[in-house]
């Protein structure tokens, strides 16, 4: 019964506190909203980039250059074994390779006039399944294919794969660092703002302690205030993100369409992220108020 009664007291006290001092609470909500908006934007941008990387990743292609003397049966055997392992295999004959080169060069292809149809080597173009799309795996594949008697060289765009991997790592660590900085700054600023609110209620806290309130009892209403501020900040941030989404989404879809990446543009904002943001807001609000009231009680 005591716990229920106390809970009722805490909520009433928290709501009264907000009602009597709206300004510091409004400031805290605004700061939280801005930080959460930045976090949400960062998450959405991160999601887009991940989608972009996945799309580019899917374009990883391995070219297996074939020796001129390779027999069609051996080439077919090699192709079949690769298909069995999940690769999409396309044979590019010397004539097809020349036609492709002429097409790519455009007006400059004039210089190729009179070139023999067998001038370029045949090749197998492999569309790489997901498990193979790492530098290590591709190196292993390259070494394995290079040992085949029909194969003269293997090209898997090592440099591009490494760059993609490095970019993904940079984004991941950069994102974590930015998140930590924003988190720390938000907690510090919200805590400082809440200290103003606590200071303004110092008399109430003094009386509470005088009549025998424990630190936990004093702290509880302020934690509730922090929680409500965090949730309010998250809601504001979500509204802002919804507005931004309206403006950005058509442009993102256009970009993914232009790049002709498979799967199209990922959604800018998934439903689960709404819960994430609300949770982050609640946590930030609670943390900021906890630090503020702990400092005040120590003083």
């Amino acid at each position: 019964m005591g716990a229920v009664a106390k809970s009722d007291v805490f909520w009433r006290s928290a709501l009264q506190g907000i009602r009597h001092q709206p300004f510091p609470h409004a400031v805290a909500v605004l700061i939280l909203a801005i930080s959460l908006f930045a976090l949400g934007l960062g998450r959405a941008a991160g999601g887009l980039l991940q989608g972009l990387l996945r799309g580019l990743d899917a374009e990883v292609q391995v070219t297996v250059w074939l020796r001129a003397e390779a027999r069609p049966a051996d080439i077919e055997r090699l192709s079949a074994s690769l298909r069995a392992r999940g690769f999409e295999v396309s044979l590019v004959t010397p004539r097809a390779a020349l036609e492709r080169l002429v097409h790519d060069l455009g007006p400059s292809a004039e210089s190729l006039r009179g070139m023999s149809a067998d001038a370029l080597p045949a090749s197998l173009e492999l569309r790489v399944p997901a498990p193979w799309r790492t530098t290590e795996a591709l190196r292993r594949l390259g070494a394995e294919l290079g040992a085949e008697p029909e194969v003269s060289a293997v090209d898997f765009g090592e440099a591009a794969v490494e760059r993609l991997g490095a970019l993904a790592r940079l984004l991941r660590w950069g994102g974590l660092f930015a998140f930590a900085v924003v988190l720390g700054a938000t907690v510090a600023v919200v805590g400082a703002t809440l200290q103003l609110a606590i200071y303004a209620r110092r008399e109430e806290v003094e009386i509470q302690k005088l009549v025998g309130a424990t630190d936990r009892f004093v702290r509880a209403p302020f934690l509730i205030e922090g929680l409500l501020q965090g949730l309010a900040g998250a809601v504001l941030a979500l509204v802002g993100l919804a507005v931004v989404r309206q403006w950005i989404e058509p442009q993102v879809e256009g970009l993914f369409g232009f790049l002709r990446l498979p799967g199209g543009a990922p959604p800018l904002w998934a439903g689960a992220r709404t819960l994430e943001l609300l949770g982050a807001g609640a946590l930030l609000g609670l943390l900021g108020s906890f630090l503020a009231v702990t400092r005040a009680l120590r003083a």
Binding site: M1, V9, L210, F217
Partner: protein
């Protein structure tokens, strides 16, 4: 109920506020603590309800040594001690009823029971008709009675009052002291710090006199001396 043994209180860099104080207040006693400003009256009261810790000595409150009490235990001690200050310390945005109920909120008393007890206490101090008023709409005497009600609503064994009539006119002063005497008759140990000599004259209670942090007079000891002498 309250025992002090060789209690000294000093702040770093300053002369001691209290020096070698020895006193005993029995259960149910009414004691005036008097002396000029700066004599150490407020500090002595603060030591009893653990707003300060002594530099040396022992303090027993209700048989419990509070000189070395842990911080976590202080709230539980204070639930048995009511404190009344000169400057009232009422929350201006809360009604009289909510101000008094503050003490019961801390104990987790259910709202219905809390309201009943508060109204009973307000009746005792003659303010049941002001339950829904805000403190600023009350006179000084009424505000002090609200503070007394808040201090007593959870039936503490000890009531400490630090210059409770300092801001009140003579008529109201008598009103408040009469109320404290009534509280004492009901069994609560009352200690009132005051420098108002007229009160000491009017209410013939035990008087402990402090000067420059030392106990220089105690009418209880005088009475004992007279009885045994």
């Amino acid at each position: 109920m309250i025992q002090m043994f060789h209690v000294t209180k000093a702040y770093p860099g300053d002369p001691p506020v209290l020096t070698d104080v020895n006193l005993t207040v029995d259960k149910g006693e009414f004691v005036f603590l008097t002396g000029p400003s700066g004599a150490g009256k407020t500090t002595l009261l603060k030591l009893v309800f653990c707003a300060e810790q002594p530099t040396r000595g022992q303090i027993l409150v209700g048989g419990r040594n509070v000189a070395r009490i842990r911080d976590a235990s202080i709230p539980y001690l204070r639930r048995n001690i009511g404190v009344v200050f000169q400057d009232f310390k009422l929350l201006p945005h809360r009604t009289v009823l909510d101000n008094v109920a503050f003490t019961l909120d801390v104990l987790g008393t259910p709202r219905a029971e809390s309201r009943e007890r508060v109204l009973r206490m307000l009746k005792l101090v003659g303010l049941q008709h002001k339950a829904e008023s805000l403190p600023l709409k009350l006179s000084g005497g009424e505000q002090q009675r609200v503070v007394i009600a808040r201090a007593l609503v959870n039936d503490p064994t000890i009531l400490l009052a630090d210059e409770p009539t300092g801001n009140l006119d003579p008529a109201l002063t008598v009103e408040i002291l009469d109320l404290l005497c009534e509280v004492n008759v009901r069994g609560t140990t009352v200690v009132v710090a005051t420098h108002d000599a007229t009160l000491l004259e009017r209410y013939q209670k035990r008087v402990i006199r402090l000067e420059r942090g030392r106990v220089v007079g105690d009418t209880a000891q005088v009475q004992v001396t007279r009885r045994t002498g």
